[in-house]
Amino acid sequence: MEKEYTLMKGNEAIAEAALRAGCRFYAGYPITPQSEILEYMADHMEERGGVFIQGENEIASMSMLYGAAACGARCMSSSSGPGFDLKQEEISYLSAAGLPAVLVNAMRYGLGDGEITAGQDSYWVSTRGGGHGDKRIIVLAPASVQECADLTYLAFDLAEKYRNVVEILSDGAICQMIEKVYLPDAREHDIDQFDWTLTGKPRKQKKNKVYNLSYYMGYEKYNALMRDKFREMHENEQRWESLMTEDAELVLVAYGISSRACRSAVRQARKEGLKLGLIRPITVWPYPQKAFEAVSGSTKAYVSVEMSLSSQMGEDILVASRNDRPFYAYLTGKDLPEAEGIIGYCRDILEGNIQPTEVF
C-alpha cells in the first residue's frame, strides 16, 4: 500500500513532525512568518499529553524551555528575525549546561523589524550566533515542506546525541509554502532515559545540578569535551545534496528557498548548453566541506546564490573549498532569485563581464 501523504505548510509540517518526534514542550511568542508553528502547537500539544505555553516574551519562553529541557523533555521554540535575536541569551545557557533543544528560525528579510517576507540574511546569526562564548549549533536548512518534516524529526535525535542546540533554519517562503508531505511515524520519548536530568530525587540518590558544565568538570576537561564535540559534529553531521556537479563549468551553491531557483537554473541552463551544477548544503553548520572536496577539475568557479545584502555564506564556501577557485555571489536581497537571472549572471562570469566577489 502506498504511504499516505498530506498537504501542509512548512510551518505546520515542522510542528507536526516535532510532535511525532515526541516533542512535549513548546513555548514561544508570535511573530510573522512562523506564527503557525505556535498556533499548531496550541491546537495539538495538549492532545498529545504535552505542554504548550504562549510566553510573555522570547526570553521567558526560552527560560521555560531551559527548565523543561533540564528535565529531559523534548522541547521546541520558534521565532524569526528580531524575535530570534532575543533567544540568544538562553542558547548560550543551554549550550553551557549541555541541554538539548530544537529551535526554529524562519528568516525574514532585513535589519530591525525589516520585512515579514522571505530572506536569508539571518545566516550569520544562526551559524555564528547563539549568544556569547564558544559553542556550535547544528543548523539544518530545509528546502521543501518534506524536508521541514524530515529535518525536524531528525533534529531531536541530534540534539540528544550531542546534548546540543539544533536549529531548523527555514525562511518566509519555505515556511509558508504548501506542498505534499509524507509525515514520519509518531513515537514516544522517554524523559527518564538520561542520567543528567532533574527529576526530584530521593535524599539518598545523587542529585543533579544543571548549570555550566565547566563549573563541575573544571575547564581543562570541559574544554576537551567541547572541542571533541565540535569536531565530532563537524565530521559526522555534514549533509548536502550535489546536483550535476561532475562536469559542471560553474557550481552554484545555495540552500533553502534559493536552492530551488538554482535547481531550475541548472536544468534550464543545461538545455541551453551551459553546464551548471549545484551544491545544496542541508546542514549550514557543520558546513558540508566534503561536498567541495568532490568538485571536479572542469569547474571554473563557485557561485553562491543568496537572499542577502552581503554574501553571508561566502566565508564558509571559501573555507570549505580552501579558496581553490574564483568565487562569485549572486545576491538578490529581499527578492526571490529566479532561474533566468542566475543563468544570465553565470553567462556574464564566463564571458568575463564581472569580477569575482570579495568576501570580507
Binding site: 510566553g55 529541557a69 535524599r203 542529585k207
Partner: protein, 248 residues
C-alpha cells in the same frame, strides 16, 4: 520549642558573606521542606547571583540559568514534573528588576511554585549597585554615590502590592532582624511549600534581608537599618492569601 538541629538537607557550607541573610533564608527553606516531608522530590531554581551558593550547600536538585529568569525556569520544570516540589531562591534584582516580567507572569499564570525573594535593597553579587525596585531613597550605592534621588532614579516600589493585583495564592513579606520575625518568616515560607504540596497556586515570600558587606555596615547595624528604615517602606505581613489563615 524551636529546634536548633541543622537540617539534614544542608550538607556543605555556602559561600555567603558574614552577616548575610541568604544563609538564614536557605535554612528556613530546608527546615520547611523537611518538616513537610518534601525533601525527596525538591528541585530548586536559583539565580546566578548570591542565591547561587545554596546550590553547593543543599542536597537537592538544582538549576541555575539566565539572570532574572528563575520564575520562568521553575515554570518549565513544574510543567514537566507537576509532582516535584519546585522552588525559587533568588534576590530582588533577579526577581523584581531584570526578571520582573518573568516573576509577574509566573504569578499571572498562577504556576504552583514557591518563590522566595531575598530583598536586600542592593545588587550584592556585582559589588553593591542600586536596585531600582528596592534601594531606599537617599541610600548610597556604587551607582548612586550621592544617594538615591527620586527625580532621576525613580522611587522604590512595593512589588508585593503590585502582585496582589493578580489572582495568586499567597504573598507575604517577612524579616530576619530578630527571632520573632525569623519565626514568622519561617511560617510564611512553610505556608508557601504547603500550598504547593496541596496543589494550590503561586506563592511568593519576600524576605527583608541584610547585606552588611555592600551596605558597609556591621551585621548589627544592618539589622537595625531594616528594623528602623526598610520595614517602614516595605511592611512585613501577608499581602494575599486565597486559602486563608496565612497571617503568621
Amino acid at each position: 520549642m524551636p529546634s536548633y538541629k541543622k537540617p539534614e538537607s544542608i550538607i556543605a557550607p555556602a559561600g555567603y558573606c558574614g552577616g548575610c541573610g541568604h544563609g538564614v533564608v536557605q535554612r528556613l527553606i530546608a527546615e520547611s521542606i523537611e518538616e513537610l516531608g518534601l525533601q525527596d522530590r525538591a528541585i530548586a531554581s536559583v539565580d546566578i547571583a548570591c542565591a547561587f551558593w545554596s546550590q553547593d550547600a543543599m542536597n537537592y536538585e538544582f538549576i541555575a540559568g539566565p539572570h532574572g529568569r528563575c520564575a520562568s525556569v521553575a515554570t518549565g520544570i513544574k510543567k514537566i514534573h507537576p509532582e516535584a516540589t519546585v522552588y525559587v531562591h533568588a534576590g530582588d534584582g533577579c526577581s523584581y528588576v531584570i526578571g520582573l516580567t518573568e516573576t509577574s507572569y509566573a504569578a499571572i499564570r498562577d504556576v504552583p511554585i514557591t518563590m522566595i525573594v531575598v530583598n536586600n535593597g542592593i545588587f550584592g553579587m556585582t559589588g553593591g549597585q542600586l536596585n531600582l525596585a528596592t534601594t531606599l531613597l537617599g541610600d548610597k550605592t556604587l551607582s548612586s554615590k550621592k544617594g538615591r534621588k527620586k527625580e532621576t532614579m525613580g522611587h522604590p516600589v512595593d512589588i508585593l502590592k503590585v502582585l496582589a493585583c493578580y489572582d495568586v495564592e499567597f504573598l507575604a513579606r517577612g524579616a530576619l532582624y530578630d527571632p520573632r520575625h525569623i519565626e514568622q518568616t519561617k511560617r510564611f515560607i512553610k505556608k508557601g511549600f504547603t500550598n504547593q504540596r496541596d496543589g494550590k497556586g503561586f506563592s511568593l515570600i519576600e524576605v527583608l534581608s541584610p547585606c552588611p558587606t555592600n551596605w558597609k555596615m556591621t551585621p548589627v547595624q544592618a539589622m537595625e537599618k531594616i528594623k528602623n528604615e526598610t520595614e517602614k517602606i516595605f511592611p512585613v505581613g501577608v499581602y494575599a492569601d486565597r486559602g486563608g489563615a496565612g497571617n503568621g
